[in-house]
């Protein structure tokens, strides 16, 4: 039913792919199912051998493992290591996997006992500091975004099949935002992390008049010091800048710096 794949006379292997999730909202996997128009083409390009969200069958011999979510418990770290051992290519799918995502927001409290009590009272529960995949295993490829963009996943998978290198834009979101003819949000009085965030989302948020919150992490050579000045000049509070920087974990280092600089007692 599915013949050998080939392109320009070069025979291509159909990769066996598997999807896994750790601590996450499972949205990035869902984005793949959200590919209505091209889902069937996508499915004929690869052989899905493991996708718990969509299918019951599973196999452990896969070439490419897409892992969504971050690591927040010891058992997850073990699962991740096992996946790493099986996979030829391990892909971090989405911001949780790449940077810790929103999950890492709890790391800012340092005091994990307080965090547990706040939600579960005295009931015992296991959790640890939230980590991106790369803190536990080697990651071959990152697909950024919260959520990921299906067009990007399709392009990446096509390139994987073809053996083309996967490269992300190295420049910031502004580039795509301006090319979308948007009014810059700063002109509307809204803060935006577009000038420092890695492009590739096609300025998803600014095109909808929502400032960028940096879900794709920093662009190469991001000039955060200048953005801080710009925000301050325009009357954006340091807190609002920090909220955005710390939201998805991509700017964790800078957020930590800002937070300790502010030390504004927001910690309970």
């Amino acid at each position: 039913m599915r013949g050998q794949l080939s392109y320009l006379g070069v025979e291509l292997a159909r990769p066996r792919v598997a999807f896994f999730e750790l601590t996450s909202c499972e949205g990035c996997q869902l984005q793949i199912l959200n590919n209505e128009a091209s889902l069937l083409d996508f499915l004929s390009l690869v052989e899905v051998v493991n996708f718990r969200e969509a299918m019951t069958e599973r196999h452990d011999d896969y070439d490419v493992a897409f892992v969504e979510g971050s690591v927040s418990r010891a058992d997850e770290a073990d699962r991740l290591r096992a996946i790493r051992a099986n996979a030829k290519i391990l892909v971090a799918l989405g911001s949780c996997a790449c940077f810790g995502g929103v999950n890492q927001l709890k790391n800012r409290f340092r005091d994990l006992d307080w965090v547990k009590r706040e939600v579960y009272g005295d009931f015992p529960i296991i959790t640890q500091e939230v980590l991106p995949l790369s803190a536990v295993v080697d990651v071959d490829l990152c697909i950024y975004g919260c959520p990921i963009r299906k067009e990007e996943v399709e392009k990446i998978v096509t390139n994987l099949v073809l053996g083309k290198a996967i490269s992300h834009p190295r420049y910031p979101v502004c580039m795509e935002c301006q090319a979308s003819q948007n009014i810059c949000l700063f002109d509307l009085g809204e803060p935006c992390l577009g000038p420092v965030t890695r492009a590739g989302c096609n300025a998803w948020c600014p095109s909808n008049r929502r400032g960028c919150w940096g879900c794709r992490g920093p662009a190469d050579d991001a000039n955060l010091a200048q953005l801080e000045k710009i925000m301050a000049e325009r009357g954006v509070s340091a807190e609002a800048m920090l909220d955005r920087l710390e939201c998805f974990g991509g700017f964790a280092t800078q957020a930590d710096l800002l937070r300790s600089a502010a030390a504004d007692g927001r910690k309970p």
Binding site: L8, G9, V10, L162, G163, A165
Partner: protein, 299 residues
Amino acid sequence: MENRLPFIDVLGGPGGRRREDFTSFEYTLPAEITSLYALTPTETLYQIRIIDPTARQRFTFQPGQFVMLELPGIGEAPFSISSSPVRHGDIELCIRRVGNLTNFLARLTRGARVGLSGPFGTHFPVEEMVGQDILLLAGGLGIVPLRSPLSAVLENRSNYGRVDIMYGARNPAELLFTYQYEEWRRFDINLAITVDQAGPGWQGPVGLITEVLKERLGQAGSLATGTCAIVCGPPVMFRFVCDLLTRAGLPPQKMFVSLERRMHCGRGKCCRCNIGSTYTCLDGPVFDYWSVMNLKEAI
């Protein structure tokens, strides 16, 4: 309907424009790979022939010029023609695997279709070198563009004086065109080869190409008047080699270098190869050293 302004077809419709003007862009000649020969684990020599015989015959080029080679959806990139200009649209390209296009090319087999456009750029003025001594200095992949002027010289060897090739590679395994060295020597070419690191069985010199050049200069103290140099290699090499040659009395307009920049069109439109006012694709890739010396950021 009279308010509708008539459409102007720039490719051929009214307006009396020359058709060729506008079709040179994105116009690729269908070509085929007639042979692939792996020179090293990373470099392959491709023979590429324009399929249409008339177009093949019409495709003429000068040594040092480059073509844009295209594979759909994989990429398009500039490559120096490495073969003799006598052969027209049946060219040789020596390509190093560094990225998408070059890696995919290496997976193709004989008979595969590629798209070719060009030739583009400036060339080494070998006709003007008649009667003179020629120094060919190459580092690494730099030997590839030098092979074309070398072929031109070999076609008319007696027209030229002393010809030296000084060629450096990182290690013996990376040396290109080893099978031709004997042939070159037979044509009375002084071939000096050096490597950064010796490998098993390596008898020749170890060290930088500048050392080899110093040795050559040392013999005569300085260079004979009526010497030309052609230099091609990584950016750092240019500076050292050209400095040495300048000190040896070679005037800058008699040294020719071939520069490499990122290119997306080869036609002076994408600006990616731009160095100040200069387009590497239109004003280069071959420059005399005088022009390059005066270009900020060139080397």
